[in-house]
C-alpha cells in the first residue's frame, strides 16, 4: 500500500528532523524546512513523481481539519485568560492582521505581482484551512495560498524568535500573540518551546487572527483590490 509506505516514510523523516532540531535548535533544521527538503530529495532519488507522493499523503493534509477543531480545547480551558485579556488580544490581533494584509499588499505592488498572486498571498498569515477559504472568496488560487501559508510558517518559525529578541520583548502574552499572529500553527509550535503561557496566547492569537482576517476579507480586501486596479 503506497499510502502506508509514504505516510510511514514521512513520519519517520519528520521524527528524525524533530529530534535533530530539538538537539541543535538551529533555524535551518526547523521541521517545516528540513523535512520537506529531505522528502523531496528522497522522492526524486526514488523516481517517484511529486503528485503520486501528494496523493498518497493527502490524508495527512486532511488532518488539518480536525486539528483546527481541536483548538476548541485550549479556548475552553483558558476561558478565564481570554476574558481577562480580551481587550489586549483584540487590539493586538486586529492591528496584527491589518499590518499583515497591508504590508503584504504594499510589498506585492512593489515587486509587481499579478492580481491572482496578490489575492492568493493576502491571507498568508492565517491557518491553512481558513486561508484557503478567504483566498477563494477574494478570487485567489487555494493551492498557491497553501504555498504562501507554508512559506510564512517557515519564516515565522525561523525569524520570529530573533525579532522578539531584537525588540527585547519580555511578556509571555506579547511573545505568544506575535508568534501565533504572524505564523499560525508553525508560530504556535515555536511558542510551545517558550512555555505554556506563550503557547496559550499563541493558539488564541491564531484563532482570533483567522476570524478577524475573515472579516477583513469582506470589508477591507475588496476595496483594496479595487484600488489596485487603478494602477
Amino acid at each position: 500500500m503506497r499510502m502506508v509506505l509514504f505516510t510511514v516514510i514521512t513520519y519517520l523523516v519528520y521524527l528524525f528532523v524533530k529530534k535533530v532540531y530539538g538537539k541543535t535548535n538551529l533555524p535551518f533544521f526547523h521541521p517545516l524546512l528540513l523535512t520537506p527538503l529531505l522528502l523531496i530529495a528522497l522522492i526524486s532519488f526514488g523516481h517517484v513523481s511529486a503528485n503520486k507522493y501528494l496523493d498518497a499523503t493527502k490524508w495527512l493534509t486532511h488532518m488539518l481539519g480536525p486539528a483546527t477543531v481541536a483548538f476548541a480545547v485550549p479556548i475552553y480551558k483558558h476561558l478565564p485568560i481570554i476574558k481577562k485579556y480580551f481587550g489586549t488580544i483584540m487590539i493586538s490581533i486586529t492591528s496584527g492582521t491589518l499590518v499583515a494584509i497591508l504590508s503584504t499588499f504594499g510589498l506585492s505592488k512593489l515587486i509587481h505581482l499579478n492580481v491572482a498572486f496578490i489575492t492568493s498571498i493576502l491571507p498568508r498569515s492565517i491557518t491553512t484551512p481558513i486561508a484557503i477559504e478567504v483566498s477563494k472568496d477574494i478570487g485567489g488560487l487555494p493551492a498557491l495560498t497553501t504555498v504562501f501559508v507554508i512559506l510564512t510558517g517557515i519564516m515565522g518559525g525561523v525569524i520570529g524568535p530573533s525579532v522578539l529578541k531584537w525588540l527585547s520583548i519580555r511578556t509571555p502574552i506579547a511573545k505568544g500573540l506575535a508568534l501565533g499572529m504572524a505564523a499560525h500553527g508553525a508560530g504556535t509550535n515555536k511558542a510551545m518551546e517558550y512555555g505554556e503561557q506563550e503557547a496559550t496566547f499563541s493558539s488564541l492569537a491564531m484563532i482570533f487572527a483567522a476570524w478577524i482576517t475573515f472579516i477583513w476579507g469582506v470589508v477591507l480586501i475588496p476595496p483594496l483590490m479595487h484600488f489596485h486596479s487603478f494602477f
Binding site: 520537506p36 488539518l64 477543531v69 481541536a70 480545547v73 475552553y76 501559508v149 507554508i150 484563532i207
Partner: protein, 122 residues
C-alpha cells in the same frame, strides 16, 4: 492502551468536523467547516455535553503534531517551481519582510498594552 484512546479521541473530534460540515450546508456564510466544528466542540464543552477528558488527549496530539500535517503541502511546493524560478526570491523576500513587520508590530502593541495596564497584575 494509550494509542487506542488517542485514536478514539481523534475520531471523536472528527465527528465535530462532520457536524461543522453539516452546519456549513445550512448557514450561507463562507466559513470553513472546521471553524464551525471548533465552535460546536467549544459549545459542547462549555455546556458540559461532553467532558474535557473525552477529547483532551486527542486534541493535544493534533495540536502538537500540527507541523506534520503541513509537510505534504510543503513538499507540494515543487509543483510550483516555475513561479519559484521567476519571482521566487522576491516572494520569499516579501514574506520574510512582512513577517518581521507583523511579529514586531504585534509584539510591541501587546507589550505596550500590558505595560500600560500595570506590571503588578501579571
Amino acid at each position: 492502551m494509550k494509542l487506542g484512546i488517542l485514536v478514539i479521541q481523534v475520531l471523536g473530534i472528527h465527528v465535530f468536523l462532520f457536524l461543522g460540515a453539516a452546519v456549513k450546508k445550512v448557514v450561507p456564510l463562507p466559513i470553513p467547516a472546521s471553524m464551525f466544528g471548533l465552535c460546536l466542540l467549544f459549545l459542547a464543552l462549555y455546556f458540559h455535553i461532553i467532558k474535557l477528558e473525552w477529547v483532551e488527549k486527542g486534541a493535544n496530539w493534533l495540536m502538537a503534531e500540527l507541523l506534520l500535517f503541513f509537510i505534504p503541502s510543503a513538499v507540494g511546493i515543487v509543483n510550483y517551481d516555475e513561479i519559484i524560478s521567476v519571482q521566487g526570491a522576491e516572494i520569499v523576500g516579501l514574506i520574510g519582510i512582512s513577517t518581521i513587520i507583523v511579529v514586531g508590530m504585534t509584539a510591541l502593541i501587546a507589550e505596550m498594552i500590558t505595560r500600560m495596564k500595570g506590571s503588578g497584575q501579571q
